[in-house]
């Protein structure tokens, strides 16, 4: 999973795409070391274990579990695998880009 995630971080700009992790390792220090050692450049909540509050609320049954959420906060994909992840992101990231552009551009003059 790590190499694929790294490739996604490289592929899409930080303004429109982010990976967020929910880490379920019981040992926080160990996971900080792993993140540093493997150069995982995305943030993760630390959930304290597989029965942590976030994994519990999200009813996670297996690891890894992946969701893709669009720029409006809507869940667009659950458990995509392999190149499905890229296909979903290739569809959603340009839409986020468009929406960001509309926001920053001044409103058309009357």
């Amino acid at each position: 999973m790590y190499p694929h995630e790294r490739s996604l971080v490289a592929k899409y700009e930080a303004e429109t795409f982010a990976i967020l992790g929910v880490n379920s390792d019981p040992d926080r220090e160990r996971i900080r070391e792993i993140v540093a050692e493997k150069g995982l450049a995305w943030r993760s909540w630390w959930d304290g274990g597989t029965d942590g509050p976030i994994a519990t609320r999200w009813n996670v049954r297996g690891w890894p579990t992946v969701y893709i959420i669009d720029h409006e906060g809507v869940i667009r994909s659950r458990d995509p695998y392999g190149d499905q992840i890229d296909r979903v992101l290739d569809d959603l990231v340009p839409k986020a880009r468009e929406a960001a552009k509309r926001k920053t551009e001044p409103p058309p003059k009357e």
């Binding site: 999973m1 995630e5 996604l8 899409y12 303004e15 429109t16 795409f17 982010a18 990976i19 967020l20 992790g21 929910v22 880490n23 379920s24 390792d25 926080r28 996971i31 900080r32 792993i34 943030r43 993760s44 909540w45 630390w46 959930d47 597989t50 029965d51 509050p53 976030i54 994994a55 519990t56 609320r57 999200w58 009813n59 996670v60 049954r61 297996g62 690891w63 890894p64 579990t65 992946v66 969701y67 893709i68 959420i69 669009d70 720029h71 409006e72 906060g73 809507v74 869940i75 667009r76 994909s77 659950r78 458990d79 695998y81 992840i85 992101l89 959603l92 990231v93 986020a96 960001a100």
Partner: protein, 266 residues
Amino acid sequence: MRRLSRLAIALAALATATSLGAQDETLLDPAKPTSAARAALDALETEFRAAQDAYYKPYSDAKSDEERAAITLDPALDPVPIFVERYAALAREHSGSAEAVAAWMWVFHSGSRSPRSAEAVSAAVDVLIEEYRDHAALAETVKFAFYAGSSEPCLRLLRALRERSERAETRAAATYGLAQLALQGPSRDEARARELLEEVREKHASVPFHGKRSYGEQVERDLFELEHLAVGKVAPEITGEDIDGKALSLSEYRGKVVLLDFWGDW
């Protein structure tokens, strides 16, 4: 990889269920810490693992995904159909024991993955329903029956146990399993799943599900998932601290596409 790791979790859960059966028996009969049935089951399991490792050896030997993609295994050499017969024989020999339940459930689970074992699976389901529906060992292991997927034998087993078992744990597990199956595949039926989950909540809320968690608590999670975690729903807010102790909330990322990854390095 993801599929494989989920299967591994399911199988690990099964293995735990099998060993729980063994512990129960030890508790009930301290004079016989290892019964003949247990020893026979353990030996058969060891033999099966070796046969399975041999069959899948090309995969473990493959050095790349390309090599793996090129492998074709001869289904005639698949050890499952042979071992299905042997587990069934063991179950008949030690009829009535916790090991017999474990062996019939093995036939059910492993046979469900092999089209050549359809008859044996159907026979195992008949025996489990007719002879073991009230057995203590079945109450534990039937929790994992729905991992076999939405097949006719699996549905038949769970429906019969839901209606006919005298044990609340077994009825709870069967009803819960049917709810999970209703959510699978192209005939996904959320309304039916909700009905079954609500039946579990109504009738079996205090029955233990897993660890300290009861069916009541588990069903709340599943209903929350149906309501809020499906594709098309607005993701619930997540707040908390990141691994460095800094505050982090999902809503900070509104405007960006987020890949949310529940992960662990284990």
